[in-house]
């Protein structure tokens, strides 16, 4: 009997630098094919969306709102005292920072008047997020799967068995996050496995292993929750008032009963292309079956009424 440990990801988007090492590590470890080389014109994001052969996706958001701690001395934004000044969180490797966290305000004053570009940049901030399958506690894909190909593993992750999946495509429409997808030339549905093979071998998933800033943290879900709560407090105390956790528990996201891969965000979920209040469709379906039963029973009544017409017209007309 394997140990039943609930594992998951905590993705701290405020630490993400958009290097896409997670995307590459995922492709490489899982030996996934490319999915075409398209130029999207959307910031540095040429991946676009999670898909059948893209199991990690780094989103790039360019905002006209400054984020405390972001910016460099040259563009005149705040530095030094910001949220990213000293980030040695909780035993994780230190993040790279051009600022080093110790730049005195005098050093950042521009020696010459700022030009329009620099002024514009001071009203600017990046948001980057490495998106992944959320491995919902209650998973829409798993409940919709008509073959039982999608199952819950001993680590609490949601896994598609490629030798069972017959490519019906129902999970694709059932996922409230638009994660799982069918590869048309393969015919089956695919998504992140939470590196089931690596977990079986006692290793950390490839993306978390490759992340250079501890933005992707892997561990036991209870550990991660505690770590994440602490990080939110830390960020808020440093001026990032908007920092919050997305889907870390059933209370915060009742529609999925909590995510095994949850996120720390600094803006509305919509900004990152995440649904604000996702719900597993099956939670609402009982009444739909009821409506169907009422409908088809009245249909049967119509048929009987039509067949039981007055005898004059009965078998003629």
């Amino acid at each position: 009997m394997p140990e039943l440990r609930q594992m998951g990801f905590f993705t701290d988007t405020t630490l993400c630098i958009g290097c896409k090492a997670c995307e590459v590590a995922c492709k490489q470890w899982n030996q996934l094919p490319d999915d075409g080389f398209s130029f999207t014109g959307m910031s540095y994001d040429n991946t676009g969306h999670l898909g059948a052969s893209t199991w990690r996706h780094v989103a790039f958001v360019e905002r006209e709102t400054p984020l405390p701690g972001q910016g460099s001395p040259r563009d005149g934004a705040q530095a030094g005292a910001g949220a990213f000044a000293e980030l040695r969180p909780l035993g994780q490797p230190p993040p790279t920072s051009l600022l080093g966290g110790n730049i005195a305000p005098s050093h950042i004053e521009s020696p010459v008047p700022l030009g329009p570009t620099a002024r514009a940049l001071s009203k600017f901030s990046w948001l980057m997020m490495s998106d992944v399958c959320k491995h919902c506690e209650r998973a829409g894909c798993l409940e919709a799967c008509p073959t039982g190909a999608i199952m819950r593993t001993e680590f609490g992750s949601v896994y598609v068995q490629p030798d069972v999946c017959n490519g019906c495509g129902y999970c694709v429409s059932a996922c409230p996050f638009g994660v799982i997808d069918r590869r048309e030339d393969d015919g089956r549905a695919w998504k992140c496995t939470l590196c089931y093979d690596r977990l079986k071998g006692g290793m950390v998933p490839a993306c978390a292993q490759a992340c250079p800033t501890a933005s992707i943290q892997f561990g036991e879900i209870d550990d991660l929750r505690a770590r994440a709560a602490e990080r939110v407090t830390q960020l808020r105390s440093r001026g990032v008032e908007d920092a919050y956790l997305y889907g870390e528990s059933a209370a915060s996201q009742p529609g999925t009963e909590g995510l095994h891969a949850f996120f720390l965000l600094a803006d509305k979920p919509e900004t990152y292309n995440l649904p604000p209040d996702p719900v597993v469709p099956t939670t609402k379906i009982v009444k739909s079956w009821g409506a169907m039963a009422a409908g088809v029973l009245s249909l049967a009544a119509l048929a009987l009424a039509a067949a039981a017409a007055p005898s004059r017209t009965r078998w003629t007309l």
């Binding site: 052969s53 919709a144 496995t193 996702p278 939670t283 009422a294």
Partner: protein, 401 residues
């Protein structure tokens, strides 16, 4: 091709030399032949063009959800399955009311049996791996309307096939296949009895068959389908009935055509009402209802509605009865088929529109609805256990104690 590109030419999109690297990882069996993975889906250029008109926060206007991957076969199946199911129901009702052995009942059974074969063919052909269609029957999962539908269709197929046994035997005993419908030859008594019983069985399976497809669509994250979950199954059920009635307007049996016609007329009225109810349910969030009225899907659905009303109006035209029925039946058949295609197309448009998802959930129609009703999260339906590799229920699902 220039040498540099040739050197980097894609083989399977991995560029792993099989002499050096071993293809053994999770994704290594994924077949990749074509870079244009979803030719039918919106391109980034289209999305960017659409996003320019949009308002509200979104991620470059990109869809949140993956668009449904089904092709034309699925809405076509919704039509054939609905038609076959409703015919079986009509046949069962006529049989129960003393019309056993009439032309109408025989035709109902034949349409039901033929329709179930066509339906199964369409469903299997639409699978990504058609050879694995039988995996649908390796589990019984009430949480998956598609799995339930497969069982219903299997039962329906078996019953409707058994119900045409006398006709099939008549052909085998030397009747011409063309006389399948007109056969007067008596089958052995027990076969006729078994066929009658099977006719009732087909009617019993036919009832869920006409309606479950609405539940199937409602049980998705696609906003317009999820939002209309109380009316879509009803609309599909009556639409199936309309098509059954209309079929026998166009192809009238010698006896009983009046019954089929009355059935079709009653169902047309019910479909008009269900269609209005669907619009009402959808329009609680205007953005969600948009594809029902606008764009390609809106045009399809408006045409379908017009055809339905037209088929009712043609009843009062000053024409010979036969001409009226053919006109009315044809309009209704095309209209009900178009309805299924329109609803599926509306789902595509809805999945492509991130604001439909956002506005629906911001309006409290995401998990908000479920939580408000029940006290505990997800009280709507108990979460099911996962199913393990061998098909048995596994205990790990929903495991956090």
């Amino acid at each position: 091709m220039d040498p540099l590109n040739q050197a980097e030419a894609r083989h399977d999109g991995r560029n792993i030399d099989p002499d050096i690297g071993l293809l053994a990882a999770e994704g290594s069996t994924q077949k990749a032949r074509d870079a244009t993975v979803h030719p039918a889906r919106a391109t980034y250029e289209e999305i960017a063009a659409a996003a320019r008109e949009e308002e509200g926060t979104s991620y470059y206007g990109l869809p949140v959800l993956c668009e449904p991957v089904w092709n034309w076969m699925i809405p076509a199946y919704f039509f054939t399955g609905g038609l076959a199911g409703a015919c079986a129901v009509l046949g069962g009702a006529v049989q129960a009311m003393g019309g056993r052995g009439t032309d109408l009942v025989r035709r109902c059974r034949l349409v039901a049996a033929g329709g179930s074969i066509v339906s199964a063919g369409l469903l299997i052909a639409d699978l990504g791996r058609p050879s694995r269609f039988v995996n649908m029957l390796r589990v019984f999962r009430p949480s998956s309307p598609m799995n339930m539908g497969t069982w219903v269709l299997s039962g329906f197929g078996a019953c409707s096939a058994a119900s045409i046994l006398p006709e099939v035997l008549a052909v085998r005993r030397g009747g011409r296949a063309g006389r399948l419908l007109a056969t007067r030859r008596r089958s052995p008594r027990w076969i006729a009895l078994a066929a009658d019983r099977a006719g009732y069985g087909a009617a019993a399976f036919g009832l869920p068959l006409v309606g479950y497809t609405g539940v199937l669509l409602a049980n998705t994250a696609v906003p317009v389908w999820q939002q209309t979950r109380h009316t879509l199954p009803v609309l599909f059920a009556f639409s199936g009935a309309v098509s059954a009635g209309a079929l026998f307007d166009v192809w009238p049996p010698r006896r009983g055509s009046g019954i089929a016609h009355r059935f079709g007329l009653l169902a047309r009225g019910a479909e008009v009402a269900a269609s209005a109810a669907l619009d009402r349910e959808a329009s609680t969030v205007p953005r969600v209802a948009r594809p029902l009225r606008h764009g390609v899907s809106g045009a399809m659905l408006n045409t379908a509605r017009a055809m339905l009303v037209g088929s009712l109006l043609s009843e009062i035209l000053p024409l010979p009865r036969r001409a009226k029925r053919i006109a009315s039946g044809t309009l209704a058949l095309v209209g009900t088929a178009l309805l299924r295609f329109g609803i599926v197309q509306a789902g595509r448009a809805s999945a492509r529109d991130p604001h439909a998802t956002f506005e629906m959930q911001r309006a409290g129609r995401g998990a908000g609805e479920v939580v408000r009703r029940g006290d505990e999260p997800g009280a709507g339906m108990p979460a099911l256990h996962g199913v393990g590799a061998t098909g048995e229920e596994s205990v790990q699902h929903g495991a956090t104690p």
